[in-house]
Each structure stands twice: as structure tokens, then as C-alpha cells.
């Protein structure tokens, strides 16, 4: 019996990694095909960012800038965040600008705006309610970042459609970071720290971050020191923001902690379009996959200790 046990653990130790891939794939596919209503708890960094965006509701003299610093490879994590924030802005009449410094990010901006606009059925107009500055060469990242502290229309002369920014209706009452008071950087790199270093330190702009989970741990010190007003970390952050928009912005309700605690939105609800709950559906699969990984780690460790014990016994 003891020998059989050792053979089992030895086999587990030398298990072909492709079996593990299959199990992880199933752990993701099954919850996606058969979604269940897991709860989404709201964390403070997400709540703070939501509240900051929401504080600009219907204000003519306030706007937010969304900087898309990523390509399609990190879309699963960042795209739901971008759609949720755009949706929030469109729901609450918040002026929103978008910009990118990577060529491959340019189509993602259009895709995000069109998804939020078309799926949500918003009657918003480019140049009036929102403005896409479009792709600007990376070499101009710093000049534009610093230039916007003085005059946005001078730093970014034209938008993605080639129109003079200074002539756009959305620019009424907007001059620099005093009005464009919140910059949210979506990235899989440390670009958010560039915004903090220059736009925050020099001009006092509020900076928010929508980042991949890989980058989250690195940015927590900036959150803790208040240099980031809020942060969406990975798919979990996106899922939380999706929920906040569903609970408050889409119902025209002001944020309240009590309502968040009491409200539970089932993701199987057919009234919520799929594009507006992608992250929450993904988090179902994420939770199951994490449980699988934890089980594998425990099994691997048990196998390691059992094998080591039996080897020690053999050696005497």
C-alpha cells in the first residue's frame, strides 16, 4: 500500500505539463459556458477612481483624459476597463478625451469608443461630448504631456480626424490640467509612473491607473502615498468598475457604500449586454482557475515531501 502511494506521488511529480494545460483550459472553458452568479466585491482603489470620475458629472469645466498605452496583447484585462469608464462618462455627461502613443493602440481607441457608444445606445458626438486625439508618435509623449500643462490645444494641435483641437466645442472652458483634471493611463508598462513624475509633480494633475495585474504590485506604493487617486488592477479591477457603472451610473444614482454592499447584480441577467459584463464573466473562470492552481500547488508540495521522506527512508 505504502509503495503504491509512493508510485502515485512520483507520477504526480513527473506529470506531463500538457495534462495540466488541459485541466486549466477546462477550468476556464466550463465556467465561461455555464456562468454562475459570483459576487464582485468593490475594493477601495476602484471605488476612489469611480468617485473621482463621477465627481465630474455634467461639469463643463472638467474633463478626463484616457491614455491607451497598450496593444491588443493585453486587451482581455484592459479593454473592459476602458469600455466601462467610457460608458460611465457617456452615462453621466462627462467630457472625455482619448490619446495613444503606440501605433497599435490607435484602433483599440476606436473599438472601445464604438463598443461603449453602440452597445450602450448613447447619443454622443465626437468633438462635442468626447474627443479622440488619436495616435501621436512616442517621441512626443513627453512634449505633449508637459505641453498640456500649459495649453492642451497647443500641445495637441489636431484630433484623430484632423480637426483643429482649439476649434472643437468640447474645448470650451478647458485649457490645461486645471480642467483636464484626471488622467487615466491604461498600460501594461510603467508609463503611469511617467504621468505621476511629470503631470502630477509639475502640474498637480490627478492620475488614475488601469493596469495589468502584473504591474499592480509595482504601483501600490504610489496608491498608498496618494499619488494615484485610484487604480484598476487587472481583470478584477475591470469587473469591479463594471459593477459600479451598472449599479450607479446607469441608474443615475450617486455612489454610496451601503448601496454597493446591498446590491447584487447577477451576471446571468440578460438585460446587461455581454460587452458590459465581459470582465465579470471572466472573473468566474479566473476564480475556478485559481482554485485549480492552488490545488496543483498543494498536490505538488505533498508529492515533494512524500518523495523526499521515502528517499530518506531508503538511505537509512
Amino acid at each position: 500500500m505504502s509503495n503504491n502511494k509512493n508510485i502515485f506521488w512520483d507520477r504526480m511529480q513527473n506529470l506531463d505539463r500538457r495534462y495540466i494545460y488541459i485541466v486549466v483550459a477546462l477550468a476556464i472553458i466550463i465556467p465561461l459556458l455555464i456562468p454562475f452568479n459570483s459576487k464582485t466585491y468593490i475594493t477601495e482603489p476602484v471605488e476612489n477612481l469611480y468617485k473621482k470620475v463621477d465627481s465630474f458629472t455634467e461639469r463643463e469645466d472638467r474633463a478626463i483624459l484616457m491614455c491607451f498605452m497598450h496593444d491588443a496583447s493585453t486587451m482581455p484585462e484592459l479593454f473592459p476597463m476602458e469600455v466601462s469608464i467610457l460608458r460611465h462618462c457617456f452615462e453621466r455627461n462627462i467630457k472625455v478625451f482619448t490619446i495613444c502613443f503606440l501605433p497599435t493602440a490607435a484602433p483599440l481607441i476606436d473599438y472601445a469608443i464604438n463598443t461603449a457608444k453602440e452597445v450602450g445606445g448613447f447619443d454622443v458626438q465626437s468633438g462635442v461630448d468626447y474627443c479622440n486625439f488619436g495616435y501621436k508618435p512616442y517621441a512626443l509623449f513627453l512634449p505633449i504631456l508637459l505641453g498640456m500643462g500649459e495649453d492642451i490645444a497647443e500641445a495637441v494641435e489636431t484630433d484623430s480626424e484632423g480637426r483643429k483641437v482649439e476649434n472643437l466645442e468640447i474645448m470650451k472652458n478647458l485649457k490645461n490640467y486645471n480642467e483636464l483634471n484626471l488622467v487615466i493611463d491604461f498600460s501594461a508598462s510603467a508609463s503611469v509612473q511617467t504621468w505621476i513624475t511629470y503631470a502630477r509633480v509639475k502640474f498637480g494633475a490627478n492620475i488614475g491607473a488601469g493596469i495589468t495585474a502584473v504591474m499592480a504590485a509595482e504601483n501600490y506604493p504610489f496608491l498608498q502615498t496618494g499619488q494615484l487617486v485610484g487604480m484598476l488592477g487587472g481583470l478584477k479591477g475591470a469587473a469591479e468598475y463594471e459593477k459600479l457603472v451598472d449599479v450607479f451610473a446607469s441608474n443615475n444614482v450617486v455612489f454610496s457604500k451601503e448601496i454597493v454592499k446591498e446590491t447584487w447584480i447577477p451576471i446571468t441577467d440578460k438585460n446587461i449586454p455581454y460587452q458590459f459584463k465581459t470582465a465579470r464573466i471572466g472573473m468566474n473562470a479566473q476564480s475556478v482557475a485559481h482554485i485549480m492552481i492552488i490545488v496543483f500547488i498543494i498536490l505538488g508540495n505533498i508529492g515533494y515531501f512524500v518523495s523526499r521522506k521515502s528517499k530518506n527512508k531508503e538511505l537509512g
Binding site: 459556458l33 496593444d71 482581455p76 504590485a217 502615498t225 471572466g282
Partner: protein
């Protein structure tokens, strides 16, 4: 129609990349090379349209701002990186690029050092500030190599190691989460947008 074709192509290329999980194969290599080629092919006209035309061609040839010729020539020196004998010329534009560092230092010092230090010097009136204080002190002691890490000093610096291990663990946990998220994204695409199985 276009949507269907693009979904089929994207699904095929996704499966080509996933095939690497079984073993390296020509489908994987094809998809990988295609990604590099398409990205470059896409970027070149976009950069030409958004950088060369508005910041070089238009100012020099249409607005007669001839001073722009100097930075343009400076930028052109980068091409000499490919020449064995003249590669030293490419160092000149790099020098100008490095000047940015001068501006970066004071601001970065503020954001990454001074503000961070200030938030570790808070009154020790709750468990979080106490933990942060212990962590900062013990990690700094661990990185002080002018004294041998043994005895009481060694034990204190060991606490610093534990703090760092917790930090690395949190970082790794987030990395696992990120990788799984990317896989979820692709599977959502295959099952949802391609096969219509997720609603």
C-alpha cells in the same frame, strides 16, 4: 461578411499560437512571424503619416521653418547604428535624448523617494504604519552590507528577507492572475465571438 472572415482568421491564428503548448511547430512559427510583420507593416505608414508629415515635411517644405532641418538631420544620424565604421555618429542624437534625464531626476526624486519616505514616517498609531515601519527598517538593514549579517543584526535583517518574500509572492500571484486573464480573453473570443456560445 467581413466580421465573419476576420473572426475565422483570428481564430485560426489563435489556435496556431496555442499549438505551441503541445510542441513547437510550423503553424506557431508562421503565426509568430506574421504578428511581427503585420505590426511593423501597420506601424510604418502610421508613423510616416503622424510623425514625418506633420513634424518634418509640412514645417520644412510648406511652412518654410528651416530650423527643423537641424533636429531632423540629428535624428537621421540614428541610421548610422547599422554602419560598423560610422556607428559613432549615432551617439550624438542619443546625447540629446539623455538630456531628458536631467529633467527627470528632480521630479522623479520627488515622486519616487521624497513622497514615499514621507509616507513611511507617519505616527505609529495603527497596525499598518507599524508594519510599514518594521518593513522599511529591516529591509534597509538587509541591504547594508558593511556589517556582517549574523547575531542579532542577522536576525533583524532576516525579517527584511521575509518582507521581501511576501512582496515577491504578491507580485507572482498577480502575474499568475494576469496570465490566466489573457487566456480567458482568448477563450472568450473563441467561444463567444467565433462560436456564439457565450451570451
Amino acid at each position: 461578411m467581413f466580421g465573419t472572415i476576420s473572426n475565422i482568421v483570428a481564430a485560426f491564428l489563435t489556435l496556431c499560437i496555442f499549438s505551441f503548448l503541445y510542441k513547437d511547430n510550423p503553424f506557431y512559427k508562421f503565426a509568430e512571424s506574421l504578428l511581427v510583420g503585420v505590426s511593423m507593416g501597420y506601424a510604418i505608414p502610421l508613423v510616416y503619416e503622424n510623425a514625418f508629415i506633420p513634424y518634418v515635411y509640412r514645417p520644412i517644405f510648406l511652412q518654410n521653418k528651416f530650423l527643423i532641418i537641424i533636429p531632423t538631420l540629428m535624428g537621421v544620424l540614428y541610421i548610422f547604428r547599422f554602419s560598423k565604421n560610422l556607428s559613432w555618429l549615432s551617439r550624438y542624437p542619443i546625447v540629446f535624448g539623455m538630456a531628458i534625464v536631467g529633467m527627470f531626476v528632480p521630479m522623479s526624486l520627488n515622486a519616487r523617494v521624497l513622497v514615499q519616505m514621507r509616507s513611511t514616517m507617519l505616527p505609529l498609531d495603527n497596525i499598518n504604519t507599524i508594519l510599514i515601519f518594521i518593513g522599511v527598517v529591516t529591509i534597509l538593514m538587509y541591504f547594508f552590507f558593511s556589517k556582517e549579517h549574523k547575531g542579532t543584526y542577522g536576525k533583524i535583517s532576516n525579517v527584511g528577507i521575509w518582507y521581501m518574500m511576501v512582496g515577491f509572492g504578491a507580485s507572482f500571484g498577480y502575474t499568475v492572475m494576469a496570465r490566466i486573464s489573457l487566456l480567458i480573453g482568448r477563450i472568450q473570443f473563441l467561444l463567444g465571438e467565433c462560436l456564439g456560445l457565450i451570451k
